[in-house]
């Protein structure tokens, strides 16, 4: 039995609700019944420690080179870096971050994307990395382009990078999107605006970080991530034999 504390409850008013009619696809894909609140069991407080099974490739966090067919990806060269902490400000070490994104023209390398912008033969748009002992991570990529999508007629997504994080427990699992400081499409985006609180939206905006640029190579953006943290266990009642 896991004797460590439970994770702090998720603040559902901070996250986007399920039903957000401004983002039309959510209308038929949002539960109508309330979520059932349950206590965390051993399974939810544990997480997949042995993933990915085969380990990482050294180029996994370099999206400029990891799909090379002889050249490098076209676009504005950037480094995205930051730190993964929990709500108690503790670093989350050794956790897997997966990223995916469109190319510089706003086109995804996906069977189902038919946007007219061309594919870049040297760009796949998938990467992953593990945080270090202090929770730091970085990857190198090109800045993705905005792209149109069907919602209210032709809406435009701001430039964004999708990301997925595991944490150490299944209840810390998180999928979200990173936006870029100063992008005028951010306030116009129906998906961004599923998040009710402007302060929460601001947390998804990566900041230009001139200090961490790679001189004569790549600009840098800083993006810190916060996962759920554990409660302390001062007052938990412990029974004999558990």
């Amino acid at each position: 039995m896991d004797e460590r504390g439970d994770f702090i409850r998720r603040d559902r008013k901070w996250h986007p609700p399920a039903f957000t009619p401004g983002y039309k696809t959510s209308v038929l894909r949002s539960p109508r019944c309330a979520l059932v609140s349950v206590e965390q069991g051993v399974g939810e407080k544990a997480g997949p420690l042995f993933f990915p099974r085969g380990g990482l490739d050294p180029l996994d966090n370099d999206l400029i080179c990891n799909f090379s067919k002889g050249g490098e990806a076209i676009g504005e060269r950037i480094v995205v870096h930051g730190r993964v902490l929990d709500e108690n400000r503790r670093p989350v070490p050794g956790t897997l971050i997966e990223v995916w994104q469109a190319n510089a023209g706003g086109r995804y390398r996906h069977k189902n994307d038919s946007y007219l912008a061309p594919l870049d033969p040297n760009f796949g748009g998938t990467g992953r990395c593990l945080t270090d002992a202090e929770g730091y991570y970085f990857f190198r990529t090109i800045r993705p382009g905005p792209y149109p999508w069907r919602n209210d007629g032709s809406d435009w997504r701001p430039a964004h990078i999708h990301f997925s994080i595991f944490g150490e427990a299944f209840v810390q699992r998180l999928v979200s999107q990173l936006y870029f400081e100063g992008d005028p499409l951010i306030p116009l985006c129906p998906i961004v605006n599923t998040i009710p609180d402007p302060a929460a939206i601001d947390r998804l905006v990566a900041r230009l970080d001139m200090g961490q640029q790679m001189p004569f190579d790549a600009l840098a953006y800083r993006f810190d991530i916060v996962l759920r943290g554990r409660r302390q266990t001062f007052f938990e009642n412990k029974r004999e034999g558990n």
Binding site: R29, E39, L49, F50, E87, F170, I191, A199, G229
Partner: protein, 196 residues
């Protein structure tokens, strides 16, 4: 002043192209094609071999063909720390039919918080376009009626009629044990989703 915790990073939808980052071969990328994360059990892992299959349905009764599912479970002995059985899997809905499928072993019962026992179950997360924050559910097993009746999480669902939405139906054909588990996002027989 209240104590300041950091706020969790807010969620956003995985979107329709979630596979690029999570199952690149499914997206059509010629990378990591040897990975098949929907198969959890290989070699001589102890336990009954099972398949879990189903469809995620939207509120109009259409299959959610871009859904990504993640499965997390204990091994056949009810443990999460078995290096030979990581207990984590991923499967994409079929782009044509919406069907998903996992190959795994049936998990054992797990301990609960106060010395009670949880019935065997798997945890499932659902990601898709239009889902702003992933949905968390559980599948229990139809041949475990007695354990299910005593399960603390199932019992915490106030409307007893809804508990059946979390039970996969066992079927044996041609030597393959399959549990059918459909997930209804909305409407009649809406699946129970948890805030854990």
């Amino acid at each position: 002043m209240p104590v300041a915790y950091l706020k969790e990073t807010p969620s956003q939808t995985g979107g329709p192209y979630v596979h690029i980052g999570t199952l690149p071969a499914v997206a059509g990328l010629p990378v990591r094609t040897q990975e098949n994360l929907s198969v959890l059990a290989s070699g001589s892992v102890p336990g009954e071999r099972i398949r879990i299959t189903g469809v995620v349905w939207d509120g109009a009764g259409h299959p959610v063909k871009d859904a990504l599912l993640e499965l997390w479970q204990a091994d056949a002995a009810g443990r999460h720390d078995n290096p030979d059985f990581p207990g984590f899997g991923r499967a994409a809905a079929d782009f044509a039919t919406g069907a998903f499928s996992f190959e795994t072993v049936k998990p054992g019962a797990l301990p609960w918080r106060d010395g009670r026992t949880q019935a065997p179950h798997v945890c499932l997360l659902i990601f898709a376009r239009g889902i702003n924050i992933h949905l968390h559910t559980r599948m229990y097993f139809s041949d475990e009626a007695e354990a299910n009746a005593a399960d603390p999480v199932l019992k915490s669902i106030e409307h007893a009629g809804r508990r059946t939405t979390l039970v996969g139906a066992r079927d044996e054909a041609d030597g393959v044990v399959t549990y059918r588990f459909d997930i209804r996002l909305q409407g009649e027989n809406e699946t129970v989703f948890f805030d854990v």
